[in-house]
Each structure stands twice: as C-alpha cells, then as structure tokens.
Symmetry: C2
Subunit: 168 residues, 2 copies
DNA sequence: TTTAACTTTCAAAATTTCATGAAAGTTTAT
DNA sequence: ATAAACTTTCATGAAATTTTGAAAGTTAAA
C-alpha cells in the first residue's frame, strides 16, 4: 500500500469511528487529515482534499478548535489562516475525555443526584426498584467521573502503569 | 418530585445520554424503563408507556437483547412475552464495553495494524508524520483494548479497588 | 386444522442531522 | 475610503436515520 491510499484509509477509518461515537464524520475526518499532515493546512486545502464545501469546512474547524483538538496558526505576512492538530495522542485522549465529561457526564450526574433524592414508600416495589437503579447508576457515574479526573491530571505513563498494575 | 415525574426524567436523561454515545434514543429509553420496572413488561406496556409503535418496540427490544442488556421471560400459561433488564450496573457497563469493543475497537485496531506496516521514505515529512500518528494511535488503542479486556474479566470489587488505588 | 393471540417484517413517511454555497461580514493593504 | 482577500453565517436542500403501521408470519390452544 502506498502513502496516499493509506492516508485515505486512515481518514475513512477515523471518520467511521467518530460517527459511531457521536462525533460527526466530517469533523473526525478533518481531524484525521490534520493528524497526518506535517504542516498546518488552509481551509482551501482541507476543502480540496476532503471534497467538502467552504461552509462545512469552516464550521467543522471551529468545532475542532472548541474541542481543543485543533489550533489556528497565523503565518507572518499572510492573510490566510492555517490549521494544525496536536499530534500527541495522550493529549487528544485527554482533551476528548475532558470535553465529553463536561458536556455529558456532568449533566447526567446532576440529574441523578436530584433523582436520588426522590422519596417514596419503601414498601412500594416500583419505588424500590427506581431508587436502587438510580443510586447504583449514580455511583457508577461518579466512579467514572473520578477516574476521568485522574486521567486528566495524570501523565500518560503514570496512568497506564496504574491501570496495568491491575493485571498483576 | 414524585415517582412518575422522576421516572420520566430518568428515561429522558438516559435517552439523551444514549444518543450522545451513538445508541439510539428509543433503545436507551426502553432500557431505562425496564431498569426502573420491578417486574418484566410486555411489548404492549412498553409501547403504551413510551408512546412508540409496535414495530419500533419490537426492533428495539431485539437490539437490546442482542446487546445482552435485556432478556425475554416466558410466564407459564401465557402467550405473551415479557421483557426485563439486568439491573446490575456493573454487568451493564461490562456488557456495553464488550459489545462496543467487538463492534468498533477490534475493527479499527485491525486497520491500524495494517496501516502501521506501510513503508515509505523516512526522509519524507508526510510519511514520517503519517507513520508517527498511526503508530501512536495504535498503541493507545491497544492500551484501551487491554484495559477493557481486564475489565471484562474482572469482578466488580476487584476492579474498582484497583482504580481507587490510583488515587491514594 | 382452524382460529386467535401474539410477534416480526418492511416499505413508506417522518424526523433529525448534515452539507452546501451564496451572501454578509471582517480585516488588511493601498 | 475603497478594494481585495479572506472568513463566517445561515436558509435551504440532501442524506441518513428513525418510526410507523399494516401485512405477513408464527405459535399454541381448541
């Protein structure tokens, strides 16, 4: 396999993975493209390579910047903006974890905390089951939350070392 | 807040979380409903409670069964089928991890392994960047894979005890 | 074997999500 | 101040996904 073909496959695979995880396909593809590009790219180049419209490219790049996965670069003496992706996978993983935690885990923990407080007749099966499920899920969510927090603070090696201690 | 309202909120929240993670909203809602139901429910009851069609209920339940999150129950002397969800959050988490690993992580690792093998001119920046990103992501994916494998084998307590060691 | 209860399928409709591109906006150079 | 280079917005349409419900299929009792 040659590089251009491999590049295409990588972009396609990353796009598919993204869409399975609630990240839009194009966003994942633009990210993939920037990940394998040694130099920062312009909007034009991204549009060209991925065959997407200007509007789409612009919005997608903005999203990627909001996710903290891509940064703008200004080149001295040039009007155009260049975009590049952080290539450090550990940073990428942490950044994604951080965003999803903020956007998804935090809100659900808030709701679960509220629902944990609901009171009812402890002889009522419906109430008992509701309460048990909600508090159990709440506990799990909080464990996940703590683990993510640790991950966000951790150095890559330390984190995986800790994880792999579990194997011994 | 009273139980019925709380139940509704829980179903809504679980549905939203599901859709943010690539699981269809209805599927997550049916799962939520079964999680808070002390007894197994019929298709009719699920249709009624969530205001969904028979076809949708049927397909959704089949999916949940395929994910290993819901089981059928036959009641002696009855024609109808009843459905209930495993209420153990640890089992739920493991089951979801197991399915997603099989459906998503395994295929991407396969592709990354292939792409890691691509050869090229080590003086070519494009090749160098491609190669580094691909192999780095591959390593990360394999770490995640191993961690999931451990999690799947682990007993609940043992797993969380190990996680909490990380905090000390 | 017939019937009725119940389940499954699937083509069409509804909804949701995503991409487009022209127009509006912004910035910099002259 | 104007023009040119470049970026952003957003109404609209296209595509993908989800839902519906009626018809077909299945099963078990009579």
């Amino acid at each position: 396999m040659q590089l251009p073909e491999a590049k295409g496959k990588f972009i396609e695979a990353w796009g598919k993975l993204g869409s399975e995880w609630g990240i839009n396909r194009t966003m994942a593809q633009v990210h993939a493209l920037l990940l394998v590009s040694p130099a920062a790219l312009t909007t034009e180049e991204i549009m060209e390579e991925l065959k997407i419209s200007r509007g789409n490219a612009n919005m997608t790049l903005r999203d990627l910047i909001n996710w903290g996965l891509v940064e703008k670069q200004h080149k001295a003496g040039e009007r155009k903006e260049y975009f590049f992706a952080d290539k450090d996978t550990w940073n990428i993983a942490r950044q994604v974890a951080k965003e999803r935690r903020k956007r998804e885990l935090d809100p659900i923990i808030k709701i679960l905390d509220e629902l944990s407080k609901v009171e009812g007749d402890s002889k009522d099966e419906a109430f008992k089951t509701f309460n048990k499920s909600v508090t159990d899920i709440n506990k799990l969510a909080k464990n996940v939350d703590k683990t993510l927090e640790t991950m966000l603070k951790a150095e890559e090696n330390w984190f995986w070392k800790s994880i792999f201690k579990m194997f011994k």
